[in-house]
Amino acid sequence: MLSLSLNGRPVTLDVPASVSLLQALRGPGGLSGPRFGCGNEQCGSCMVLVDGLPRHACTLPVEAVAGRAVTTVEGLGTPDAPHPLQAAFLAEQAGQCGYCLSGILVSAAALLRRDPDPDEAAIRAALEPHLCRCGSHNRIIRAVQRAAQEARA
């Protein structure tokens, strides 16, 4: 049994300590947002925030987050109360298949918390760990810029 804060709520997960955080979240955690892409920290599909910092959930043993705060894309916002990034991604239609977006959104959220006014180079650098095969990169960059502008307005 392992206790942590998941998207703002205390949860207890019944998983072996060595299981990856990703499998714990998608299994007993019941979430779909964090996604499996490579299992080797090379694509960013599984990215979540641990105490506010982006972490690859695919290789992180779940025991490493005991007692800590984990935020996934589901914890950023909901259709009724979207995070400014989620609203901006929809406004810019920033995606095609959308499989990569869960990870990209949490990395972008961490970027905007650390730097509310990132330039394009900073956005590209923050998203470098993420692969998008459909070629939505430029729309994604514009969406992050839009969210930053709207948050400052």
Binding site: P16, G98, L105, A125, H130, R133, I141
Partner: protein, 711 residues
């Protein structure tokens, strides 16, 4: 997005109906109305991330005169969805959009007729506003009040006229994607997210070499609840959780004893292997046109590309569940009926014993592992009747075992007159076939079918017919005006590495090779590359996109900058589909970086401008990645580029800025957008490298090592 599509209608003698409606004529297969004010459409094409469900919803809403928000889409499933073969070939708007537009127009006419009969108001005096029928004195009913599915249990009439282009209100606008909200909120939309009660997880144990056989499996204790399922050389671990399935698969891998032999060609000299295998291949004519014209000069060049991978960002996944002698499978296949056919063949059962339900997967650029993993799940689940089983491939399986796009070689000889103008073109295109899609051969083509205890033979892949755009020779016939053409292709009859359709098929090499020739011929003739192309084009739409892209990138005013280059690429996809002219700006440093792309496109009628722009841009970025980075690596036994480290694709830091402009032609047929921009982008990058460095590359990808051998 690539393959045969349904370009060839059946010669059945029935009155011609548009697109897939011809073979699926009953209106109730395509749409229905419900009493609570919803319209359900049921296309047989599937969402691959390209936004097709949004486009089709727009067409339906427009033709029925209902608000867009009333449209709901039923995911394709056998046996009820229209059989639209494969979502491929940039044909979905043509096949399915054309069908839905006509089906909705036909349904609308039926409903208006019923209302007219009931009210005595002549049909031409009845208007429809958001689904409500309006007569001279006001509302006289609605689709929802009539919601009578029996009215749609009829074949579409061929004589119905859809709306005129000028009357469309929803088609032609950038309606937001209907699937995107789920994707930004992390909803359970993908097949990967399917969770059925009691579902088990499975992982496949892959052999250490292509064509290896499982000789023996040692006994041992697996984790609690885990078990092995084996059929010949197909071996899978089954367990209640993902982690237990992975642990069990690792253990099984250690207990498995395989035969393993060298079956792959020498990777170091792939062109030599292609030439040698071509000598044993099947040579055929692509085109013979015109008479030989005396020439003043000739230019002979050869071009090559390696195997390339789909490299979808999600590994393939499927869920299957057996009940008695029937199996239900949830899959991100591009062709549910074709998959059904091959699963049935592999199981030696009837197709109606297999139910295939489409669920979305990650971006799909052709025939990837989606179909293969579906059979994996069916075989794994057979051991536990009544229990759903989910199979998820690893990254290594996705990059190492999916079908690949074939390595290719093309030899070209172009002849010119004394003025440098093209008079003749001879070429020979060598490749494995570009389709091993399921559903088209008596033998199933799914990966596991060749590994069973009673294995099916693995046949070399084929090429789609030339009338459907061809496979290896796709776009191999220049669109440029040339008096004499003589083009052949050789399909290899041996297939050490399994090949199939990937975005553009042969076009990814053919377009670049033609465009590279045009640039070299232009230089020899001392004519600007843009002008040289325009001098050889009779097609006004081709001229229009080239002129538009020239304006966009400032072609005429371009300045030479040290280390920078600007190049052009052009094609009309399949010579019958969407037009794309691309300008690429590159910077040559320790390697080549593509900094900017300008694209002018023409896809005829544009249903969703933002959607088309997104497809053109995505295809161009895909093309940039293929041009600069991508090559499948292998040793004599297996594909070794099975991680993102060994098969790198373009990342955020390297993605060029892209500008897309579309020439809208609302009166003209849809032409499809998914594959139009990729090959011209590769060509434009190749040309920009020549502009920057003065070398003419002849092999993809344009890596420093390969450019070092260019002259």
């Amino acid at each position: 997005m690539s393959g045969f599509g349904a370009a060839l209608p059946p010669a059945d003698g029935k009155p011609k109906l548009p697109g897939s409606l011809h073979a699926n004529r009953r209106l109730s297969q395509w749409l229905g109305f419900s009493a609570d004010g919803r319209v359900t459409i049921a296309p047989g094409k599937v969402e691959l991330g390209q936004g097709i469900l949004t486009t089709l919803s727009q067409i339906a809403a427009d033709e029925l005169d209902v608000d867009f928000a009333r449209i709901e889409v039923t995911p394709a499933a056998t046996p009820d969805s229209p059989d639209e073969a494969v979502t491929s070939g940039s044909l979905s708007t043509q096949d399915s959009g054309g069908a839905l537009r006509h089906a909705c127009a036909a349904a609308r006419a039926i409903f208006i007729e019923v209302v007219a009969q009931r009210t005595g108001i002549p049909p031409e005096r009845i208007a429809i506003v958001d689904g409500t029928f309006i007569g001279p004195a006001g509302a006289i009913g609605s689709y929802w009040e009539l919601a009578d599915q029996a009215l749609l249990e009829t074949e579409a009439r061929p004589d119905v006229q859809p709306k005129a282009a000028a009357a469309r209100r929803i088609a032609g606008t950038s309606v937001p994607r209907i699937d995107l909200p789920d994707k930004v909120f992390g909803a359970a939309r993908f097949v990967h997210d399917l969770r059925l009660p009691g579902m088990l997880h499975a992982r496949v144990v892959r052999p250490p070499a292509r064509q290896a056989r499982l000789l023996a499996l040692r006994d041992g204790a697996l984790p609690a609840g885990a078990r092995a399922v084996r059929d010949g050389s197909f071996l899978v671990a089954l367990a209640p959780t993902e982690w237990a399935a992975e642990a069990a698969a690792l253990q099984l891998a250690g207990w498995a004893e395989w035969s393993a032999e060298d079956t792959l060609p020498e990777a170091g000299d792939l062109t030599a292997w292609l030439r040698e295998a071509a000598g044993r291949g099947e040579r055929s004519e692509v085109i013979r046109r015109g008479e030989v014209v005396p020439a003043a000069a000739s230019l002979r060049r050869s071009f090559h590309r390696p195997y390339i991978a789909h490299a979808s960002v999600a590994p393939s996944c499927a869920v299957a569940c057996w009940q008695g002698d029937t199996v239900e499978v949830w899959s991100h296949s591009q062709g549910p009926y074709n998959l059904r056919a091959d699963i049935a063949k592999a199981l030696k059962t009837a197709p109606d014993k297999v139910l295939v339900r489409h669920r979305e997967g990650a971006g799909c650029y052709g025939h990837n592992g989606a179909d293969d993993v579906a059979l994996d799940a069916v075989l794994a689940a057979r051991a536990v009747p009544g229990t759903p089983v989910r199979v998820l491939w690893s990254r290594a399986e996705e990059l190492g075992w999916s079908p690949f796009s074939s390595a290719m070689l093309v030899d070209i000889e172009a002849t010119t007159d004394a003025g440098g103008r093209l008079v003749g073109w001879r070429s020979h295109i060598v490749s494995n076939g570009h389709s091993s899609r399921p559903g088209r051969d008596p033998v199933p083509t799914l990966l596991a079918a060749g590994m069973l205890a009673e294995p099916f033979p693995v046949k070399p892949s084929i090429n789609p017919p030339l009338a459907a755009g061809g496979g290896a020779p796709r776009n191999g016939v220049p669109l440029y005006t040339i008096p004499h053409l003589e083009i052949d292709t050789t399909r290899l009859l041996e297939m050490p590495i399994r090949t199939s359709a990937l975005r553009g098929l042969g076009a990814t090499l053919n377009v670049w090779s033609i465009e590279a020739m045009m640039d070299e011929l232009a230089a020899a003739a001392r004519v600007d590359p843009l002008d040289y192309r325009l001098q050889h084009l009779d097609d006004a739409r081709a001229v229009a996109v080239l002129q538009r892209v020239a304006v966009m990138c400032g072609w005429r005013e371009r300045q030479k900058r040290d280390g920078w280059g600007l190049g052009l690429g052009f094609a009309r996809y399949k010579n019958t589909g969407g037009y794309a002219a691309v300008a690429a700006e590159i910077e040559a440093r320790e390697r080549v970086f593509c900094r900017r792309l300008w694209i002018a496109g023409d896809v005829g009628e544009v249903v969703n401008p933002d959607g088309v722009a997104n497809q053109y841009e995505g295809g161009a970025i895909h093309g940039t990645s293929v041009a600069l980075l991508e090559r499948v690596a292998f040793d004599r036994r297996r594909v070794t580029s099975d991680s993102w480290e060994t098969y790198p694709i373009l990342r955020f830091s390297d993605v060029p800025k892209v500008a897309v402009e579309l020439i809208d032609r609302p009166e003209l047929p849809f032409l499809g957008a998914g594959e139009a921009s990729m090959a011209p982008t590769i060509a434009a990058i190749g040309a920009a490298i020549t502009d920057a460095l003065g070398i003419r590359p002849r092999a993809l990808p344009f890596t420093p090592e390969q450019l070092a051998s260019a002259t």
